[in-house]
């Protein structure tokens, strides 16, 4: 068995406090962005179908911080945090949610199809597991051309039951392409809990890597440092030619599947307990021992950034309906 199981950070590696503070700022920016998106959707500003990643900010930030500029990601329906962390300015994401030409997909994509090729975001995907095979192919292209780049797929526990996931894992390991598969395991497939969609305990889902002889690295998805170290180790391994890596990050969705989800399927007391126990921003704030004053200053800063993104989006240009067919063919 060539597969190695690792616990991120077990080698004693740590990231600097400065980096942690930068991570904290970005996670808070994602949180405030998501809260604003919920608010503007409820106010009737935003069309479409939206999913926020409140509770999963450490995954987006830690993974993307561990990547280099030329690396690429493919995201999921819960995409806003990934897009922010990969480097798309929040105003271009907000403009996309408002359906404006200034949006990162020029108003053609929406919340579930945020793209930004310039920063290496190959796109969010509204089909669960739908973006994974293209990550294998991107990594194959890098391998064939001898480029020092990795391709990263984000997906959740629900996606690991899709054939697309299994075929992609199998092919990626067979060809040892430089891919990193980030399993963002929040224990929910939309409204269906892991106990109803996984035949193994939710915390052991990473074992699926073993079936492909693929290296598995585990990390606590609420601990941004662990996420960063796990991804960094995975990137090194993938680029060494030893094959791709499954990075299993246990995380918590501290909100509904979509904005407006009444979560009738979820125990209210348990959700409250999770919010108090697993909020990655609270956890990092405590660890950094931020004073109330420091936190308030930082919060004001990112909140202003989010407010400015709304103003930018509202002032954006509506697409010409006649341009709807502009990009059907290259």
């Amino acid at each position: 068995m060539t597969t190695v199981e690792e616990k991120a950070g077990s080698g004693g590696k740590r990231v600097s406090e400065d980096m942690l503070r930068a991570f904290f700022r970005e996670m808070l920016l994602i949180r405030r962005f998501e809260e604003k998106v919920e608010e503007r959707f409820r106010a009737g500003d935003l069309p479409g179908f939206l999913h926020v990643a409140i509770g999963q900010e450490a995954v987006a930030t830690g993974v993307c911080a561990a990547l280099e500029g030329d690396d690429v990601i493919a995201s999921t329906h819960r995409a806003h945090g990934h897009a922010i962390a990969k480097g798309t300015p929040v105003e271009r994401i907000m403009a996309e949610l408002y359906g404006k030409q200034e949006g990162c997909s020029r108003g053609y994509g929406g919340s579930m199809h945020l793209y930004d090729l310039e920063v290496g975001n190959l796109g969010a995907n509204a089909v669960v597991a739908g973006g994974i095979p293209a990550v294998v192919g991107s990594a194959l292209a890098f391998q064939m051309r001898g480029e020092e780049r990795v391709a990263v797929a984000f997906f959740g526990d629900g996606a690991t039951n899709a054939g697309t996931f299994h075929e992609s894992m199998n092919l990626a390991q067979l060809w040892k392409v430089p891919a990193v598969f980030v399993l963002e395991n929040n224990g929910w497939a939309e409204s269906t809990p892991a106990t109803q969609h996984l035949p193994l305990p939710v915390d052991e889902l990473g074992k699926r890597a073993l079936a492909y002889g693929m290296k598995l690295i585990e990390g606590d998805g609420q601990d941004v440092e662990a996420v960063y170290l796990a991804t960094r180790a995975a990137r090194d391994h993938a680029l060494s030619g030893a094959g791709p890596v499954l990075v299993h990050l246990r995380t918590h969705r501290l909100t509904g599947h979509y904005i407006g989800d009444p979560q009738v399927y979820r125990d209210k007391e348990e959700l409250e307990r999770e919010r108090k126990t697993y909020d990655p921003i609270d956890l990092l704030r405590a660890r950094l021992e931020l004073s109330d004053g420091d936190f308030a200053a930082l919060d004001a800063e990112v909140t202003a950034e989010v407010e400015a993104s709304v103003e930018f989006a509202k002032a954006g240009t509506d697409p010409d309906p006649g341009d709807a067919l502009k990009y059907v063919y290259a």
Binding site: G109, V127, P133, V136, L140, E167, S168, A330
Partner: protein
Amino acid sequence: MPETTYREAVRDALRQALRQDESVFLMGEDIAEMGGSMAVTQGLLDEFGPKRVRNTPISEMAIVGSGIGAAIQGMRPVVEIMYEDFLTLSMEQLVNQAAKHRTMSGGQIKVPLTIRTQGGAGWSPGAQHAQQLEAWFVHVPGLKVVFASTPEDVRGLLWSAIYDDNPVVFFEHRTLYPIKGEVPDELEPIPLGEARIHREGEDVTVVATGRLVHEALAAAEQAESEGISVEVVDPRTLLPLDEETIIESVKKTTRCVTAHEAVTRGGFGAELAAVIQHAAFDWLDAPIERVGAKFAPLPFAPVMEQHVVPHAEDVLEAIKRTTARAG
């Protein structure tokens, strides 16, 4: 290469593209040592090696999906789906991903991917190895669809498909692989979206695709001997469609038969009929006749298989039905 087979013509386009361009590579089931289940890729592994002629697991979603990813990164992958029946397994990647990335990204992404596949009846494989599913893909904005019927066309069209910046589903017909035809010495790309008039005629236009082009030409010969002059047009590219050539032909002949091996109901002939009646309503002297397979999964026994799929006689009967109407 004055005369060559359809099979060798496909291989020649692949070989020349692989020679010319490092970004071109092949992926598919059994395409390397075995040379493909239709022997199309024979010899290519020896010339180009296993990195560019890649055997894959039996994983159609991953074959097409990884082709999409490589294409997004600037490669020009040519993937082979062994039988078009198996395209059904890759539909999600083709329809939701390959076809839509460009629009969903607001024009940031290109997917220069070619998906070669083949199908067709005439050898009694039963219901899951001989379907003709090209019409499904014509319904999907963002895809291009090609169905070539001669050695010259298949070579020139495949070249254009490989160098098109969009995903192209490229249909070959199993029974056409051994047929021979003249091809130019030098590979001449045939632009996508241009129909070919195989035979000029005055009384009726037959718009045929794939194997039925040859059945239509045989029917036209017979009709000629009975005093009916038949024009045979092969669209070659179903999406985008060369509507102009087809409509001009029908305006000239005033009658039209569509012919394909796929089942008639919901087939490409339905789209052709709709386009033609709308553009040439005042010219038509008879209802457009559609020739296609009967509405059944293909049965195994040869006599039943032959009963279900259309032949030259079916085209000839349709020609006679349409010319029997008063002008």
